[in-house]
């Protein structure tokens, strides 16, 4: 009987002990007294804390300096000038890796591929509607390649465009010949992309052109690593762990775009890029256009075979070769390969 009473007592105490912590935590003297948050009067009456609060200066994180704008625009102008001179002097096309690499390193990796003139189409559309929504750098970035196109044609595509640089450096040498009708339909896609980009930008839905860019993962990756390196060199904050920008999907899209580029020359430039439409329109009326000197031409067809963007076509009536300034990206392949110096 006594044993039974002890058992009941013990069980009861065990149950109380199970329930107790939750119920009596506030009364427990060893628990922290701060389950009620101290009021600001409490802190104000405490001299040490109130003076700490008074004297604390907030930690500030500054954005990158505005001088980068000047550097960006200067670099774009310099690379465009380099490309323009190379096109003007008919430099052999194998040297065009120089502006491409400079573009990739600066605009692609150092500046993260953003903002680039291609992406600025969306910003510019917004800017035309609300001018206060666009920065000077974006505006100049958008206009400068167009001014260059107005003078020389689409120089920007080979010198200054980070997307073009990736496709140039990692692209194949030969372009698959696409049948005429699908090719024409694919070539109309940039116009659709431009219209959709402008419409979606005004609607405020999204930046379609940035969404379509398959190469941005590589740019972000390079940017992240370079910034990290610079921070480390300056003795600043270096984030722990491997910096792996972008997920598997993004890298898959990047790999697919690069693989496609091995057989289809510059797939993004030719079949997606909305900025190319604008560049092409300005190239059509450019002051100095690439033209075939019909008095020199012996109609060998080397230029037509080697044009990677199929901008050179034979007129079915006159049998003359003609260059479409709208499609020509000024890669200099035709002028380098022409045996008669007939392309000027």
């Amino acid at each position: 009987m006594t044993r039974m009473a002890w058992l009941v007592l013990w069980l009861g105490m065990a149950m109380v002990a199970q329930v107790a912590p939750a119920q009596t935590a506030a009364d427990n003297p060893s628990a922290p007294p701060c389950f009620t948050i101290p009021s600001s009067e409490d802190i104000g009456s405490n001299e040490v804390m109130s003076s700490y609060r008074e004297q604390y200066s907030p930690r500030q994180y500054v954005p990158e300096s505005n001088t980068w704008i000047v550097v960006d625009i200067t670099m774009l102008a310099a690379i465009l000038l380099l490309g323009g001179v190379m096109v003007w002097r008919h430099v052999h096309f194998r040297h065009f890796w120089i502006p491409a690499l400079a573009t990739l390193l600066y605009f692609g990796f150092l500046r993260g591929g953003c903002i680039c003139p291609v992406g600025s189409v969306a910003n510019m559309t917004i800017g035309l509607k609300h001018p206060e929504m666009i920065g000077v750098s974006t505006g100049v970035m958008f206009l400068l390649p167009l001014v260059a196109a107005f003078i020389m044609g689409r120089v920007f595509c080979v010198a200054g465009c980070p997307l073009g640089a990736v496709q140039h450096l990692l692209g194949g040498r030969h372009s698959l010949k696409i049948p005429t009708l699908p090719h024409a339909m694919l070539r109309a896609l940039p116009v659709v992309a431009l219209a959709a980009t402008a419409w979606l930008a005004i609607r405020g839905t999204c930046f379609l052109v940035c969404l379509l860019d398959p190469y941005k993962t590589a740019f972000f990756f390079g940017y992240g690593w370079i910034q990290r390196l610079l921070h480390g060199v300056q003795g600043g904050l270096v984030e722990p762990g491997v910096l792996w920008v972008g997920d598997l999907t993004a890298w898959g899209i990047f790999a697919a775009a690069i693989l496609l580029g091995l057989w289809v020359y510059r797939p993004f430039c030719r079949f997606v890029c909305p900025y190319g439409v604008l560049l092409g329109l300005f190239s059509v009326v450019a002051i100095k256009r690439r033209q075939i000197d019909q008095s020199q031409c012996v109609q060998c067809g080397v230029c037509e075979k080697n044009c990677p963007v199929h901008a050179i076509v034979r007129n079915p009536v006159t049998k003359d070769f003609q260059i479409s300034s709208y499609h020509c990206i000024q890669c200099n392949r035709c002028s380098s390969l022409c045996r008669k110096s007939g392309i000027g």
């Binding site: 701060c34 101290p38 600001s40 907030p58 500030q60 500054v62 001018p131 940035c210 972000f220 002051i287």
Partner: protein, 217 residues
Amino acid sequence: MNTTRRRFIRFGGQLIGASALGGAAWRIFTGSDPEAVFSQPKGPYVWRINLDKCTYCGLCETACVRKPSAVKAVNDQKKCSYCVACYGHLADLTVSSELIQSKGKRVCPYDAVIRQEYTGGKDGYHLYTIDDAKCTACCKCAKRCNELGTKSMFLIIRPDLCLGCNRCAIAAVCPADALEWEHSYPEDDFRGDYELENAAGGMPEGDGMNGGNGAES
């Protein structure tokens, strides 16, 4: 004849092109809306988190193209109540005050919330700061602080880490639509209820580690 006509059409095209370029340039460089007043110079844009909308869902951690995210949690030292047991620091507050540092179960999975004794001993006032080298913007601390505590912890997009993507990956998935596109200016760990103090005393300089070269405001 044919050549002349072509040249004429081309000249017309050139005129149209030049006027289009000039018009666009004129529109964006001079045509600002007089209603829109920005105190900052017209600089690049950055993304900022509107704290009135933020729900501390934690998507900033996973969505950002940077890994770890450019979003970091900070604790406003002027708003913090310096509690002994902090909701953003401790997952279970029923720990005695001397055991918090050693045995208290942390909210932060990376133990980025730092607790320091400041005054008044173990039951006095404590400072809470967030180690930005460890923080991944999982928002667990800020969520608890805002739901249960003083609402001093919050999230900022660090302008020195943010890539400033045109299409912010976080903004694309943010359920509260809290990310806003604004002119860039220095971001700090003020919660933002102290405009009067700032206006009177001016914004104090940063602590040097993050530099102070970009403050053109």
